[in-house]
């Protein structure tokens, strides 16, 4: 069977780092979000959670920024996939996506490029929420560290941080459900970021038909197993 190398080792490494940072931030953030958790775990655990939250926040922000510096080519590729004008196929995909998701994938979906329009939309949202949570988090950290920041501004940063946390958390549920292949028609996609980054010819054609045909024709990323 033929396989296409879809994700590079660099992309997978970055994804691993961000996954660990995200999960740690989510858990420690949850401890700070739900008072009952704080009461249950006690002060020592809460102070530990705050420290972990800050260390992971640095990784969360620094890792992608460093990746841009180290691998500008990869960043350009990422931008190219994110910024493109949707054609009829992209719009049709999005129009059919929710019926597809909730009716057992019975919709016939149009062929997609390297990034499905739904993926691009989801990435955009993740990107926007990540920026919002990062900026507001830096403000909150500075404020708690004694830097003189206007109290009202700090308060709104806290609101922004909470809102971004909730939205990002909800998006992560969907991201994991689809990306890790919990959804039956997406089975196997976990290999892309947590395995060797390869996708089978069959899965590639099913998910990203246009891209798969191009890659199979070019052949430089294709291997046989």
């Amino acid at each position: 069977m033929r396989y296409i190398q879809r994700q590079s080792a660099f992309a997978r490494g970055l994804h691993w780092i961000h996954t660990i940072a995200c999960m740690s931030l989510f858990v420690t953030g949850l401890m700070l979000f739900i008072p009952a958790v704080a009461s249950a775990v006690g002060l020592g655990a809460m102070q530990g959670a705050r420290t972990v939250h800050r260390v992971m926040a640095v990784i969360f922000i620094a890792a992608p920024l460093l990746a841009v510096v180290v691998n500008p080519k990869g960043f350009k590729h990422f931008l190219k996939n994110m910024f493109y004008k949707w054609d009829a196929g992209d719009k049709e995909f999005m129009a059919k996506f929710f019926p597809y998701l909730f009716t057992g994938a019975k919709q016939h979906m149009p062929e997609q490029k390297e990034l499905k329009s739904g993926q691009a939309l989801s990435d955009w949202m993740l990107f926007a929420f990540a920026i919002a949570i990062s900026i507001s988090g830096v403000f909150l950290w500075l404020s708690a560290s004694g830097v003189a920041i206007n109290g009202t501004l700090t308060l709104w940063m806290l609101v922004a941080h909470d809102v971004a946390f909730v939205l990002l958390g909800l998006m992560m549920f969907v991201h994991i459900y689809l990306g890790a292949g919990v959804f039956q028609p997406y089975r196997g996609s976990v290999r892309l970021m947590f395995g060797d980054g390869k996708v089978s010819e069959s899965d590639a054609l099913y998910h990203w038909g246009t891209w798969a045909k191009e890659e199979l024709a070019k052949g430089d990323k294709v291997s046989v197993e």
Binding site: L32, F33, I34, P35, A36, A38, S39, L43, M46, Q47, R50, L101, F102, T103, G104, A105, L140, S143, A144, G151, T152, T154, L155, W156, L158, V159, D162, V163, V166, G169, L170, F173, V174, Y177, V182, F183, Q184, P185, E201, S202, D203, L205, Y206, G209, A212, K213, L216, A217
Partner: protein, 279 residues
Amino acid sequence: MAETAILYDASKCTACKGCQIACKQWNQLPAPLTAEEYEFTKSYQGPLDLDPDTWLLMTFSEVSMDIGVEWNFMRHACFHCTDAACEMACPVGAISHKDNGAVVIDQDKCIGCQYCVNNCPFSIPRAKVIGGTDYAKSFKCWQCFDRTSADKDPACVTACPTDALEYGDRAEMVAKAKARVDTLKEQGFDKAEIYGENEVGGMHTIIVAHRGLEAHGLIRDPKVPVATSLLDLAKPLSAVGVGVVVGALGFSFAMGSKYKRGEHSYDEKTDTWTIGEVE
């Protein structure tokens, strides 16, 4: 325990600062003791603002009036609001209402995030890093809950030599304050007002401001910040969001669980896309 309140009558206050000292003494709060330690404030008000070791501060507002410059005094400390913004903002549940209405910070739970400091419309809580640790904690008046729960008056009340401070049943304190305002008006204090009866859901410090709220440095019609109210809404709304998303994904999972598809293959030479039989 019935709702209680401290009644502060500014018209009876001489600003002797006995209450301020009693607060320091009972709560074992350090104070600068030498001239070198103490910053000269050019005012009888000292320190100039509340701090983590000063939970009650007598303020001296100098106001130019017909009779010359007058001092308007105020007991500046936590008002123990019913709608306490600090409590709403605390992410770890360290701030809570006692049955008598006192708003108390549990130091064993406080993580020093200082959200209460930013949320209080009166800027009452103050934070400091605790010696020997890297972590801050917030501090403010707790209405001497250790004393009141043992049927004793708060320390500040016991120290007042002019009966400007009283402590008791909240309804009784409100009634006394109203009666006092009426008396003051009869005596020519036209601007005399009561503060705390209804503000931010009703406070557990009731104030008689004989020269009007502004003259005593009080905020008229204080509100819980909009942002704080949003924070209070965030938790139930996010619980609904999680329920909806998890429910939707569960439904999607169930609907998709029997999905099968045949193998897709592509012949790039003939540009032919084949889909195999479903197994």
